[in-house]
């Protein structure tokens, strides 16, 4: 509720459209990060291929829009169904793997998908990208300004957030966290481990596809380089930096990693170095992630103050 209010008044405090643009990207990245956190933070399964699902969402709706003038809303349906089915088929064999092997398998999947984006030139425009994607309109309503688009992204994010919080705080969420804690114990208590792993993998891929759809019709241009391995790693970093296993942490991490490069422009050539330094410091001093780190610091502070009060 508070977050809804926050999102709805936020644009009023922005001095120019450029910041609105950053906010839109934060929103899009948050949606993917939330999904990845359900998979990585809650269930303990890594994916280094989520950029591919993001890209597939963007390309499916993009190609349909640019080549056969599909309306965006129909593109969304096709993107969700397509990515959902693909994630299911990919998930069944790969999620039998653990740890490094799962990381490698999802990494490989991501690379293969990116190659398809590059090589299927007649559909995707090849390495130089796909142009001519229509502006967003939903049942005739045009999202023709950044502000309108911001609200579309905000509503999508809120929906994702709400669904995710509900899932996490349910029997399903408990089963996912149980799998993270001990697969063997979950299974002897009746949890169908592989079904839940595949289920959450599909859900997180759907979030990424939704984000891809928003991205595609905002940019009206997509190219393979946006959906490569480095972006998958960046997504994982968002989740880890924000706080694994915390939905708010995922949003926090997405906001930080999306906006930080903008603030770091002042360091010019040293931008990447400073960025890396900040990431390393966070992991050293707040290994449970920024959000929990701040929480711990506040709780620690409160305890210290109380402790002093008791002594008197």
């Amino acid at each position: 509720m508070l977050f809804t209010a926050f999102l709805s008044v936020l644009p009023r405090f922005l001095t120019n459209d450029y910041y609105l643009n950053v906010l839109i990207f934060i929103g899009i990245h948050s949606i993917i990060a939330i999904g990845l956190d359900l998979l990585l933070g809650y269930t303990g399964q890594i994916s280094l291929g989520h950029a591919a699902f993001f890209g597939l969402g963007a390309y499916i709706t993009g190609v349909l829009s640019a080549k056969v003038s599909f309306p965006p809303i129909a593109g969304l349906v096709v993107a969700l169904v397509g990515v959902g089915v693909l994630a299911y088929l990919i998930g069944i064999p790969t999620l039998k793997l653990h740890g490094h092997y799962l990381a490698m398998a999802t990494l490989g999947f991501g690379i293969i998908v990116q190659i398809f984006f590059k090589e299927l030139g007649f559909l995707t425009g090849g390495p130089s990208g796909l142009v001519g994607i229509e502006d967003m309109n939903i049942f005739g309503y045009e999202f023709d300004s950044d502000l309108k688009y911001y609200y579309l992204v905000a509503v999508s994010l809120l929906l994702t957030l709400l669904l995710s919080i509900n899932v996490v705080r349910s029997r399903v969420g408990r089963a996912l966290r149980a799998i993270h804690g001990s697969e063997v114990a979950s299974s002897v208590l009746g949890v169908n481990v592989s079904r839940y792993k595949v289920g959450i993998f599909v859900l997180s891929a759907l979030y990424a596809a939704l984000a891809g759809w928003l991205y595609s019709h905002y940019m009206t241009f997509v190219s393979p380089s946006s959906f490569g391995f480095m972006f998958s790693v960046k997504l994982v970093t968002m989740v880890v930096i924000g706080s694994l296993g915390s939905i708010w942490g995922a949003i926090f991490g997405a906001a930080l990693l999306t906006s930080m490069p903008e603030f770091l422009h002042v360091f010019a050539n040293y931008e990447t170095t400073v960025f890396g330094f900040i990431l390393v410091s966070v992991m050293i001093f707040m290994p449970r992630g920024l959000l929990r780190g701040i929480e711990d610091a506040i709780l620690g502070g409160v305890r210290a103050v109380r402790g002093r009060g008791d002594e008197k």
């Binding site: 899932v167 349910s170 029997r171 149980a178 804690g181 001990s182 002897v188 208590l189 009746g190």
Partner: protein, 255 residues
């Protein structure tokens, strides 16, 4: 007492490479009793548990639960049939609270799926309340109700063992298998554990127990099976086992 067989194994064998952990083992567990499996280190007790609960597949032989074959079933299907277990090296969900651990135990007795949970149907909410209330009951049963909000990993060791049992009980098994429940417990905790196991039996749950603590085994078990090197060497009531020559030889020969 009516003692129909609840669990049977026939010719159960398991090889690990050249090591034969189980050899043609026939085990019969009767309903309503506490049955213990004992044997020297490396006798195959934990392997037996792993095979019965579906965690590993046997090389040969079959497992029957209520005369129905469960040999090739995955663990979660076996759990649905009414058989669950604890682990010698604790397998708690360490980052979840004590109550949540027990709530996972009720997993297969509830049905809320991804979609219903995501949109929070009234039905799912009602089920959630039922899960929470009943899980609290199980915590009361084992005496952990005051720790319900504690993170499981930070409980004292003895309580963690008890929590694993509560979690198993929440799945309402007909057969609860306890893998060395007294390992690492002090005398006082072991006495409490004995009382708890007896109360579990009185509540109508059959208990199959692997244990090293002979005093505990002899004081609470109705039947004892002795295995050595994967073979069953003796079976009977505690008193007869205590004086069995083969058993004495297996134990003393080892030491």
């Amino acid at each position: 007492m009516d003692s129909s067989p609840l669990l049977n194994t026939r010719d159960l064998s398991k090889d690990f490479g050249g090591v034969r952990a189980l050899r043609d083992l026939d085990l019969d567990v009767r309903e309503g009793l506490i049955q213990a499996v004992i044997g020297p280190n490396g006798a195959g007790k934990t392997t037996l548990f792993n095979v019965i609960s579906g965690v590993i597949a046997p090389t040969k032989g079959s497992v029957y639960f209520r005369n129905e074959e469960i040999t090739e079933l995955p663990p979660h299907r076996i759990a649905h049939k009414g058989l669950t277990r604890t682990f010698q090296n604790l397998q708690l969900f360490a980052d979840m609270t004590v109550l949540e651990n027990v709530m996972v135990g009720m997993h297969h007795r509830s049905t809320g799926g991804f979609f219903a949970s995501a949109i929070k149907t009234p039905w799912v909410m009602a089920e959630e309340r039922r899960i929470r209330d009943e899980s609290m009951e199980w915590l009361r049963f084992v005496g952990l109700e005051d720790h319900s909000a504690t993170v499981a990993g930070s409980l004292p060791f003895g309580n963690q063992r008890v929590l694993e049992m509560a979690r198993g009980l929440a799945s309402r098994p007909e057969l609860l298998m306890l893998d060395e429940p007294a390992a690492g417990l002090n005398i006082r905790e072991t006495q409490d554990l004995a009382q708890l196991i007896i109360r579990i039996k009185e509540s109508g749950v059959t208990v199959l127990l692997v244990e090293h603590d002979m005093e505990l085994v002899m004081s609470i078990s109705d039947r004892v099976t002795v295995i050595d090197q994967g073979h069953k060497i003796a079976e009977g009531e505690p008193d007869s086992i205590r004086n069995d020559e083969k058993v004495l030889k297996a134990y003393l020969g080892e030491e």
